[in-house]
Structures are given as C-alpha cells and as structure tokens.
C-alpha cells in the first residue's frame, strides 16, 4: 500500500536536529515579528476593527484569492503561481510532519496512505511545477523585460532583497524535487508515477549514476531543510515579510467610502512631521509594500515627470524608519515638499495596490504638516487665502458668485427663501470661470425648460472644500463645510445636484460626517440620466456624434459612477469610443488635490491633461472629448491648445450635448417666457 515514510534515509539524529533548528527558526522569526509589531504600535491610534466579517472576507478574496493582484495579467499569474505553489508545498510539508511526527509517533496511525497519499504526491508535484513556472516568469520579467516600474529604486539593497526571494524559493523548489527524485531512484516504489517530476528526476539518476547513492540524498535533504529554515527565519527581515504584512494590511484596510478622507489622527498636532506621527496602519502600509511599482505606473504625476512616485514614497518611508537616519529629516530630506505637492489625489495608486496600501492618506497627512508650516506654493497660498476670505479660489466677491444668472428669465429661485426640490450647488468653476459660465447658463436653461423645481444659494454658497481638504488645509475645509451646512440648514430642498464631481464627492461623503444626512446628492449626469429615462427631458434630435468620454476621478474612481454619463450620451445618440484608459483605469486630468491652484515645475515634460487629450485624439474617427466636470473642461481646453490639437479635437461638456439634442425644447420655453 502506498504510504509516506517521511524521514526515509534520514538518521534519527538529523531528524531531531531538524526540530532544534526549527525551534531556532521560530525564535528568530518571532523576534523579527515582535520587532515589527512594536514599531507599528509607536504610530498614532486608528480604529480599524469594525466589520470583522467584511475584513476577513477581503483577506480571503484579496490575499488568498489574489483578486487585485490578478488584474494585471502577467505579473498576476506569475505571483499567483509562486504564491500558491509555495503555499501548497508548505501545507504539504506541514501535513507530512503531522502525519509522521504527530499521528504516527504519538498514535501510531498515518493518514497519508493509499489514494490520499498518491493524490498528495501528485498535487504537490504539480504545485511545485507552478512554483517553478512562476519563478521563471518572475526572472524573465525582472531581469530581461525590466519594466520601468521595477527600476530606479530609491536606495540600495533592494535588488539583493528581490533576488534573495527568487533564489530562495527557486532553491527550495529544486532541492525538493532532487530529494524526491533520489528517494524514488533508490526506493523505486510502485506508486512513483504519481510523482511525475520526482519520478522523471529519479529515472535520470538511474540512467546517469548510481541509484543507490544514499549519501547524496541525505546531503541534499539537509541542504533543502536548511534553505527552507533560513527562508522562514528571514521572513520578518526581508521582502518575504509581505507574506504576513500584506494579508494583515488587507485585513486592516479602510472600509470607508474612498471619497471620505480620514480626519487628522491628532487634533492638537494635525499632520505628520515625524514617522511616529503616522498612524500604526500607515506604518503597516510602508512595510507591506512589495515594491511592485503598480502604483507608480498609474500615477499621473509620475508620468508627467514630477518627482513623485507613490511607490517611492512607501519605500522611502519604510527605509527611513528602519535604517539609521544619519541626522536626515523625514520631511525635507527623505520626502521632499515637491513630491508631496505633485499629487493630484486621483486615487489611482490606492485602487491598484495589491496589498491595499493607502499612499494618498500618507501624502495628505504630510501635506497637512506643510500647510501648518506655511510651506506652500505662492499660488496655492493665494487660492487658500481667497477661499478663506471669499469662499472661492478666484478671489472674487461672493456677491459676484451668481452674476452669471443675470440674463436668466425667470429668475432662478433662491433656495434660502423658497422651498425647492433640487438645490443646485453650482461650484466655483461653474460660477466664476469665464470659460464655464456659458455652460452654467445652459444647465440653468435645460433645468428650466424641463420644468425642474430647483434653486441655488446665490451669494450663500461657498466652495465645498473637497480640494481644500486634499491640499491638507483641514481647518479651512471645516470652516467652508460649516458655512455651507449652516446655509443648507436654512434652506428647504430634497436633493443636491452639482456638475462638479469634486463638490459631489465631498457633499456626498464628507458633509454627512457633520450630521447632515437629510438630503441626497446627485451628479448632473445622474440627474439627466433620470430625467431622460422618465421622459422629463425630451431628446429631440439624435446627435450621431462619435465621441469619447473622460471619467472624472471624483465621479468614477471615487464614487463608482461610470454608467450614468454613458447612458446619457447614448440616449443623445452619441456613439462612444472608449479611450484605452477608461472607467476604473481613468487617467487624471491633473487638476485634483489642489494642483489646479499650483504652478507646474519646469521638469514637467507633458502635463497629465496633455497626455489625456492626445489619448483621446488618437482614437480613429473621434473628434469630440466629452467631459462631465468643470475643471476637466478648463484643463482639457487648455491642453488641446498646448498639445496643438486645435481643429482635431473639441472638448465638450455633457451639458453642451444635451442642449444640442434638446434644441427644440429650449426654443419652446424661451417663447413661452
């Protein structure tokens, strides 16, 4: 009967020595883990133990199932095969040990017998092949393809660490097969074919050498065991650490909506200056980073030539914490203000990280400190001063906020006085920016012609504070939110609608924190979608345009709304051709996180907006780029000029298409008036 004799050909002293080395391994391993956990605990507190069920489930899906890792096909499969190959071999080893040294030794029974044993052998052999295939893919990728995202690491020693992991795993796999092969060559059990690889190696030994060479088997076994123990002991000290930190990090990730930013972890000292000012979870982020570079690949700031790479932020912070600082400061020397200010808060890095790091939260916490220190770009300073003083970044009087309404008849209701169904939160850009006000007028006319019961806040509206918050000016955000909330509480409405995804995000996700939950918030694309479906908005003319559409970060990635604008475009008779980067993979226009208020540094080769309009212009037959965000319109219209695409690509706000397609309705209402 097939049966596992785990310590075949292994002298008893070696078997015992193995357990002693194993004990040592556990000690070294535990010391490393304790050392790391003690570091985490030096961070500021942050509550992350609610919704245990969802947390466990996300570990199952993301750590065990590797769902996000798999989204990038080649590295995904590569990692999955290595991970599952290794895990299966580990489980196999544990089973064998339990079978022999627990079940057999203590109770004189074995469960690795007959068909169970042969399937065990077969499965392990197959997973061993997976491991080696994955490792081969990794070696090919890292040393032959050499993608950018694995290059230019900020510091030394990382290459060694990366190679160490591959070498150790490779050695474990190969020596394991050799030991098995030799055992089969010598013992030649009947069930050998169930270990196809081991059997092949065994046959090779028989063909080329002395199959009875038990010493070779014995030596290889020792090497195999030692390598495995070294690898285990080194987990908390090397890149292997992500095996533990990753799943733990996934467990403790934020389960809040992406659009709801964490408030500063300390009220007295908001912002992060020293590493201990980070929360324990952020410290865990830095350790979990596998340096895979996915986040760097999708970072618009990095693509534009800014000094920022979210990958490097994580790596540098981790290095700073664990290596002697030699008098260097964390902020300034290790992480520069320029890097931090380059971030557009697009969330792409956060959404792609396979270990669920929140690079953005660390960036913003460090920005919070820079803001406190007044270490900010002069233009940004002007914008913040204006926002504090006038409630808008343009530095205009709030009495001019509703100046754009002048030509509108009948006058738009003032939601502070008259009860309305929809409160239209117009936003700064739509109210003040010269290239926007005609679109704002269109929106008012479409609302009026569709008979929508709506009003605005006139001079009572303030900037919503979404970007102010992401700049790191939490106090100013609170002030703006408080002012808006007071005005909201004096007005009667059911739903807020806005064309600005940034306002949409903060009104929806962050204002409710302050106890205001009695309204719902719609993006204008969602409202138009509803109005078209219900027939309230009548599409008179199918436009027949071939268009492409840019998903705004704060509508799409932050709030998952990809379909409403697409449905509207299709209802208007537009054929949508997607850009290569669409929906979740949308590429930020570069305006978010307060970047729209800052000067671009000279090293910026091509601004994100320019790359994006080129992407749109490269689609065959497409000459219209549709946007659903006032900032996008401003950014892309400018980029079309600087990228020399005038005449080839027009940027249109969704509302322009609606006006064109509902032409008839508009002139009718004008006549009625």
């Amino acid at each position: 009967m097939p049966i596992r004799e785990t310590f075949w050909n292994i002298p008893h002293w070696a078997e015992i020595a193995q357990y002693l080395v194993g004990l040592l391994t556990i000690l070294i391993f535990s010391y490393g883990v304790i050392r790391r956990v003690r570091r985490w605990l030096q961070g500021r507190p942050q509550r992350r133990i609610d919704r245990i069920g969802s947390r466990l489930w996300s570990v199952v899906v993301q750590a065990v199932g590797q769902a996000r890792t798999l989204q990038d096909i080649y590295p995904g499969i590569m990692h999955l095969t290595i991970f599952w190959g290794m895990i299966a071999l580990l489980i196999g080893t544990i089973l064998a040990t339990v079978d022999w040294d627990v079940a057999h030794l203590l109770f004189n029974v074995q469960f690795l017998t007959s068909w169970v044993y042969v399937s065990y052998e077969l499965i392990l052999d197959i997973f061993g092949v997976f491991l080696l295939i994955g490792l081969g893919m990794a070696i090919y990728r890292r040393y032959i393809i050499r993608p950018d995202r694995l290059a230019n690491m900020p510091g030394i020693g990382f290459k060694r660490d990366d190679a160490y992991v591959l070498i150790m795993l490779g050695l474990i796999g190969i020596t394991g097969y050799l030991v098995e092969g030799l055992r089969i060559a010598v013992a030649q059990p009947d069930w050998a074919p169930w270990s196809p690889v081991g059997n092949a190696i065994g046959n090779a030994f028989i063909a080329f050498g002395d199959p009875s060479n038990r010493f070779l088997h014995y030596a290889l076994w020792i090497i195999h065991i030692l390598i495995a123990f070294v690898a285990l002991a080194s987990i908390p000290y090397t890149k292997f650490w992500h095996l533990i930190a990753g799943p733990v990090n996934i467990f403790f990730r934020s389960l809040e909506p992406a659009g709801k930013m964490s408030a500063p972890t300390s009220e007295e000292e908001p912002g992060v200056k020293e590493w201990r000012d980070f929360s324990w979870k952020q410290l865990l982020d830095f350790e979990s980073c596998t340096r895979c570079g996915r986040c760097q690949d999708v970072c618009p700031a990095h693509a534009s030539g800014f000094s920022l790479s979210p990958r490097d932020i994580m790596i540098k912070l981790d290095t700073f914490i664990w290596q002697p600082t030699n008098g260097r400061n964390m902020l300034g020397d290790t992480i520069s203000a320029d890097e931090l200010w380059a971030c557009t808060s697009c969330q792409a890095c956060v959404d792609i990280c396979p270990v669920f790091n929140d690079q953005l939260s660390s960036i913003i916490d460090m920005r919070r400190y820079l803001v406190l220190e007044g270490d900010i770009d002069p233009q940004l300073q002007d914008a913040l001063a204006n926002l504090g003083r006038y409630g808008n970044s343009f530095g205009k009087s709030e009495r001019m906020r509703a100046k754009w309404t002048k030509p509108i008849q009948p006058k738009i209701k003032d939601a502070r006085r008259d009860e309305v169904e929809y409160l239209w939160f117009v936003g700064d850009y739509a109210s003040y920016h010269t290239s926007m006000t005609d679109k704002t007028l269109m929106m008012a006319k479409v609302f009026q012609s569709a008979g929508l019961d709506f009003g605005i806040l006139y001079d009572g509206e303030r900037n919503s504070g979404n970007d102010v918050r992401r700049v790191g000016e939490e106090g100013l955000f609170d002030m703006l939110a408080e002012k808006n909330l007071v005005t909201f509480s004096k007005s009667t409405f059911k739903t807020i609608v806005t064309s600005d995804p940034h306002s949409f995000n903060t009104l929806k996700n962050e204002y409710s924190e302050n106890g205001n939950d009695h309204y719902s918030v719609l993006h204008y694309s969602q409202l138009f979608d509803q109005m078209i479906t219900s027939g309230q908005l009548n599409v008179a003319r199918k436009l027949g345009y071939k268009v492409t559409y840019h998903d705004p970060c704060y509508l799409g990635r932050y709030n998952g709304e990809y379909d409403a604008p697409r449905r509207v475009m299709s209802a208007l008779g537009c054929e949508l051709v997607e850009m290569p980067r669409n929906k979740e993979n949308t590429f930020c226009c570069g305006a978010g996180g307060g970047r729209i208020w800052m000067e671009d540094p000279p090293e910026v080769a091509e601004r994100p907006a320019e790359m994006r309009v080129k992407e749109a212009a490269s689609l065959s037959g497409v000459s219209i780029l549709v946007v659903a965000c006032p900032k996008d319109l401003v950014m892309f219209q400018d980029a079309v000029k600087t990228a020399d695409l005038e005449g080839k690509l027009v940027v249109k706000d969704l509302i322009e298409l609606i006006v064109e397609a509902t032409e008839m309705n508009l002139s009718e209402t004008e006549e009625q008036n």
């Binding site: 908001p270 803001v371 406190l372 007044g374 900010i376 002069p378 300073q381 913040l384 001063a385 504090g388 003083r389 006038y390 530095g395 205009k396 009087s397 009495r399 000016e473 939490e474 106090g475 100013l476 609170d478 002030m479």
Partner: protein, 254 residues
C-alpha cells in the same frame, strides 16, 4: 528687543466702491475690510526679525470690525502681544488723529523698533509712519524692504525710484515704513488661527476723543471720471487689439 507693529483694516477692493449720500465718504454698508497689504508685510517682517533675534512682537490696531481676525492671525504667526485701540471710528478718523492717540500708547510700550506699512490706499493725510515719528521724536525711514538688527542699531534697506536701493544704518528706536517684507507674508492655517483665538488675548485700550486737526477736509469724493482726452475702445478683444494697432501705426509707433 521690543518691536511694535501697526496694522489697520482698509476697504477690500474686490468689492465695488460706492460713495455714500453725503458725497464725501465711501458707503460702508457693502464694504468689506481687509488688512492693509503693507501692514501684513510689516507684521511678517516683525515675525522674521523675531525668528532671527528672539524679539518680542506687539501688534497694535484700531478697533474696527474684523480687527480680532487680523490680530489672531498675527498671533498665529507668532506675535506675542495683541492690542486694539477702542474708540469711535464711525465718523472717520484720519492718520493725524490716530497718530496722536497712538503716541502715548507706543511710548508706554518702550519699543526699540516700530514698523508700519509704508502707506495704505485710504491714507488721505499722509502715511502714519512719518506722523508717528514726528510725535515720538524718532527717526523715520520709508519704503524699507529689508531690516538687519544689531545691538542698539538697525540697518534698513530702502528702495528708491528707478530701481535704486540704499542701506542705511540708524540708531534705535526708529520708525520704519515697510514697503515689502524679506519674504512674502506666510500662510497661516485656519486651525492655527482658531487655536490662537482660544489661547491668545487681545488687550483693549481706550482711544478717548480723536483730535483730527490739521488734516485735509474732503469737499467731494467721486469715481474716476473719463477725461476728454481719453478714448475708451469698445468691442471684442480682437476688435480692440485691431483698433489699437491702427492707432499705434497712425502715431508712427514702430
């Protein structure tokens, strides 16, 4: 080392200015007040000096609506003492009157250095710096763009028309009119201002009656009137540019 900085609020020019019914003053109903920009520079310069020399900074301001904000903001930047001069400013107070009230206050504070913005856009009777210097019998240097402090003396860099600058050494105490601070006024986070509101204290001093004598009397205040020699070119940007080019050509501009 004691530094006293004078700061005041002036009409914010983002709002349209209107003349009130009397025809000799601004209509204050819609006016929004803002710190005089050059006073903001004076405060910044004082804080920079404090950071370099450990000086003690007192900010002194007339008690006009909004003054608490500018004082707390100064405290958030690092000012040590905040004083507002309470009085009847409703009927209009000129710089002469203000200087007369400030003189004894400043004397009491025994400053080594008195900084003021070199001018404010609503100074109708001259800027406050020279007036104060006169009453205090101290030297005055205006248009100062940089200050170095040493024991008993200061070196001020003064700007002259035509891009000239001069470094002047002057014995302390001295009144300096600040044209621009060494560095642009810093940003103060709202949370810091809120913090200052909780911790800093504003002292109040009574102005008593203002003696406004010696200042100009305003006969009429009015919006700029289009003179006969001026032509306003209307039209779109392109049209305006075209007619301008036409006029330049006519005049023989190459």
């Amino acid at each position: 080392m004691n530094i006293v900085v004078l700061a005041k609020l002036v009409p914010d020019l983002v709002e349209e200015l209107e003349i009130d019914d009397s025809g000799i003053a601004l209509d204050m109903t819609w006016l929004r007040l803002i710190i005089n920009e050059l006073d903001d520079h004076a405060i910044e310069e004082a804080i920079l000096l404090k950071e370099r020399t450990g000086a003690n900074v007192t900010v002194l301001a007339p008690d006009i609506e909004g003054v608490d904000d500018i004082l707390f903001t100064a405290a958030a930047k690092g000012a040590d003492r905040l004083i507002k001069i309470v009085g009847d400013y409703e009927s209009g107070v000129n710089n002469l009157g203000l200087a007369r009230v400030l003189t004894p206050v400043i004397k009491d504070l025994q400053p080594d250095l008195i900084l003021a913005g070199v001018e404010a856009h609503e100074d109708l009777d001259g800027s406050i710096g020279p007036l104060l210097a006169g009453y205090l019998d101290l030297p005055f240097i205006g248009y100062v763009a940089s200050i170095e402090l040493e024991e008993g003396k200061a070196t001020a860099t003064k700007e002259y028309p035509g891009g000239l600058s001069a470094e002047m050494e002057v014995a302390l105490p001295v009144v300096l009119g600040i044209q621009v601070a060494d560095e642009p006024p810093r940003y103060v986070a709202v949370s810091k201002v809120r913090q200052a509101m909780k911790t800093a204290e504003i002292e109040e001093l009574e102005a008593g009656d203002f003696d406004l004598s010696g200042g100009p009397t305003i006969d009429r205040m009015y919006q700029p009137e289009v003179g006969e020699s001026a032509t306003i070119i209307d039209g779109s940007l392109d049209d305006i540019a075209d007619s301008l080019i036409g006029i330049f050509k006519e005049l023989g501009v190459q």
